[in-house]
């Protein structure tokens, strides 16, 4: 089992989430992640995540547009993202429920 502490800000998960609706190139991913997660991915972190995801077959590169190459999710990538988000959702629901119970008891 993976250590869950940093999962919600894991660069790989953020990149997969960014690519969930449409293919994007590096800069578009950075802007998108900053908007929906409030996290700035530096170029080293971003391309480290892209290389890992690409080597695991979770994303694939599309033909380059000028020097900017867009990436899209593969079927495996969609499945992996769905599984990760379902786990995160379970944790989130559990955490919120427990906070509610604790608040009611106070």
């Amino acid at each position: 089992m993976r250590y869950i502490g940093e999962r919600s800000t894991d660069p790989g998960l953020l990149v997969l989430t960014s690519l969930a609706d449409s293919p994007k190139h590096g800069y578009a991913i950075t802007v998108d992640v900053e908007e929906f997660a409030g996290v700035h991915l530096g170029p080293g972190t971003l391309y480290g995540a892209l290389a890992r995801l690409e080597s695991r077959g979770l994303i694939e590169a599309l033909p380059a547009d000028d020097r900017r190459r867009p990436y899209r999710l593969t079927a495996d990538g969609s499945a992996a993202l769905q599984q990760e988000l379902a786990q995160l959702q379970a944790v989130t629901r559990q955490g919120l429920d427990r906070l509610r119970v604790a608040e009611a008891a106070r």
Binding site: H25, G26, Y27, T30, G42, P43, G44, T45, L46, Y47, G48, L50, A51, R52, E54, S55, A64, D66, R67, R68, R69
Partner: protein, 306 residues
């Protein structure tokens, strides 16, 4: 941020890109350069790239495959070991400056473990330095011979010598400043020492990157490349052994000569001697591990070709 910072940071960021393994540079370099143009790099971008480059070297399984020829991969591995040596040597110089004074020699005479660890560091440093020279010499000779025949290659082959001359001139200037100041250092002296150390790292890094460019531009016989890889392996083993001996020295010093270990040390007297030695040992281990990763990658390529 000043105007000069704005100009400097993108240049530094592009320099940091060259620290990535070659397959990464070929596969993602152009995209990363485009990203750096789209999104103005901040100061922390440089450190993010350094971290990414280190990670890329440490996890070769994630590297894009099939983008470079085996001989290029051996060249890249050899250059990476040399770059690790630059950072290792910077930490090693810190060790030398920390332990050069008389009280440390006296402590060494009184405590055998201290003396032996210190001697081991010195002997291994000599072996490592000789290995760098012997490993690089055949490649330098080949590059110079080629440059004599091909004028187009001269600039590339001459470039690695430039940072060496710059650093030599800087060192001469620092020595004359130190002599003018006398034995009692000041805050300005500490600032000069830090600036000199950073300049040394910058010159060393530039020199290795220029060497790498020259090595990629020069056809070299496989036997010479294998010789460089053997030298890189010896250098890596020596680096790891020096790091271990430095750690032993730091522990022995704090046990056997705690008064010396607790003294303040370095520019601005910021750290204790023990803390300085621990920092140096950590940098040495880091450089040694990165060198080991590069060396193993080089031998893997060699065995694949064989």
């Amino acid at each position: 941020m000043t105007g000069s910072d704005k100009r400097l940071t993108p240049r530094l960021a592009r320099l940091a890109l060259r620290l990535y393994p070659l397959p990464y540079q070929r596969r993602y370099g152009e995209e990363m350069r485009a990203l750096l143009e789209d999104s103005p790099p901040r100061a922390r971008t440089f450190f993010d790239l350094l971290k990414g480059a280190a990670r890329a070297h440490l996890r070769p399984a994630e590297a894009p495959a099939g983008l470079i020829a085996p001989a290029e991969r051996v060249r890249a591995s050899t250059s990476a070991v040399l770059l690790c040596w630059v950072f290792f040597a910077a930490a090693g110089f810190g060790y030398y400056k920390t332990t050069e004074d008389l009280p440390f020699s006296a402590a060494g005479h009184a405590h055998p473990l201290l003396r032996d660890a210190h001697l081991a560091v010195q002997a291994l440093a000599l072996i490592a330095s000789a290995t760098v020279v012997l490993g690089a010499l055949p490649l330098i000779v080949a590059a110079l011979a080629r440059a004599r025949r091909e004028p187009g290659l001269r600039r590339t082959v001459a470039l690695p010598f430039l940072p060496v001359f710059v650093f030599g001139a800087l060192t001469a200037a620092v020595i004359s400043i130190a002599h003018a100041q006398g034995p009692n250092g000041s805050g300005a002296g500490s600032a000069v020492a830090i600036a000199w150390w950073i300049a040394g790292l910058a010159c060393g890094t530039t020199c290795v990157l220029a060497c790498r460019a020259a090595l990629f531009a020069t056809p070299v016989a496989p036997a010479r490349l294998r010789g460089a890889l053997v030298a890189g392996t010896i250098l890596t083993v020596a680096m790891l052994a020096i790091a271990a001996a430095t750690a032993v020295y730091a522990v022995a010093l704090s046990v056997d000569a705690s008064h010396l270990a607790a003294e303040t040390n370095g520019p601005y007297q910021l750290l204790s001697v023990t803390a300085s030695l621990v920092v140096m040992a950590v940098v040495m281990v880091g450089a040694g591990v990165l060198a080991a990763a590069a060396t193993m990658r080089g031998w893997r390529v060699e065995s694949e070709v064989a």
